[in-house]
Amino acid sequence: MDLYVLFFYFFALLTVISAFVVVFARNIVHAAFALMFTFFGVAALYVLLYADFVAVTQLLVYVGGILVLIIFGVMLTTRMFSVEMKTGTLNILPATIFTAILAGILIFVFSVTDWGVVPDQEFDTTVYGIGTLLVNEFILPMQVAGVLLLVAMIGAVMMAARERSKSQSK
């Protein structure tokens, strides 16, 4: 078997299995940490697709940023020092129906898509192209995203400040 294929199946399995753990883990901290492996596997798959910039962004943003926040949230919302952090199963019926429909659609798409195979070739670096596109063609969406993030940040600061003033007055 080709090394490339070997790696692909390894990371694909890692992604899928850890995604299963995320869903089925009874302990939500375990679920959160399993999510790390999912993100990690996805990043590896991006690497195999020669999308190195996206892969690294995936790591930096999801593993380094979002996941840390998720784990923070999970740890802080539930009781911290009893390890039993169980999640209950809710809404089994609607969830089953919904996922069944979703799975059907996906399988349909799989079967009707014409999967083209790109010939094996050397890829150029993606960073330069992404950079150029971002500041030329997609300058507006990028600025909008930036403003959006700024607004979110100011909002968060204001909420935190209100909390603090409340607790201080108390």
């Binding site: 190195d52 910039f53 690294v56 790591l59 740890m75 020092f81």
Partner: protein, 339 residues
Amino acid sequence: MVETLEQFLPHPLLALFIHAALPMVIVFPYVLFAVWLERKVSAHMQDRLGPMRTGGWHGWSQTIADMIKMIQKEDIVPSRSDKFLFKFAPFLAFMGSYAAFAVIPFSSEYIGAHLDVGAFYILAVTSIVTLSILMAGWASNNKWSLLGAMRTSAQIVSYEIPTVVAVLSVIVATGTLNLMTISEMQSGTIFNWLIFHSPFLFIAFVLYFISSLAEVNRTPFDLPESESELVGGFHTEYSGMRWGMFMLTEYADMFLVSLLGSVLFFGGWNSPFGDFMSGPIWGVFWMISKGMFFIFVMMWLRWTLPRLRVDQLMDVCWKYLIPFAFVNLVLVALWEMIF
């Protein structure tokens, strides 16, 4: 490098494996040496001698003996801890830090992965260490550990910003994220090094050094461990080799940021004397010496300075480093445009 190995070895997978394990050959002896050096440096700064007995000359094999001792020690897992995460965290920590060595160009001939986004990759992959510390702190089921873990994650997430921006200044100046290319651009004499490129890159280096200190939890930013407050921080409950893995990670991280600093600002594997003493083997020598120099400075700082408080740590980051880093970035960009 992989291609060369493939010629000699029966299977390409083996070549790949050996290629991947090469940094290990440097990192493990380095850690043993650095722990010994830390003891000697601290001892001499405190008018002591430090380890003197094991192995003869100035106790050079003390850390080797310690490592053997740690391996032999009982593996204690607290009964109320989350066993799987508790056991797994040290390995994840080392994984995160070792993975980053893949893109460090140790010499003109050797780099683990010729990644075009090398600098970016290092910053991304080291964030796994944060997760492992969180994991260790939470799984220990100890309040001190959890406080330490919380502090770490807050600290590393915050200090990532000035680090990234400082690294970005270099990238603005060089126009590439590839660490090998950055090293190659600095070849020639010592004045081709980026630290002498512009005054703002010097400031960027200072910012990078300070924030990388915080990223690897060294004094004065060693709050996650802060042995006098949080007992041992996130690794309070660890013992034996699992604790040893955390130490390994800490020292490997120090080495990593030092090497990255020398690649970004001090010419990487380039000799400071131009063609004199240069070449692939000398490259490894220069790279490691430059790294060791920064590690010595880190030790020097550690044995001089007290520790900041957690809110002051955040102040340093958000009120001082980040504004400076951004202003500096703009100035670097302007400098590049003008000259």
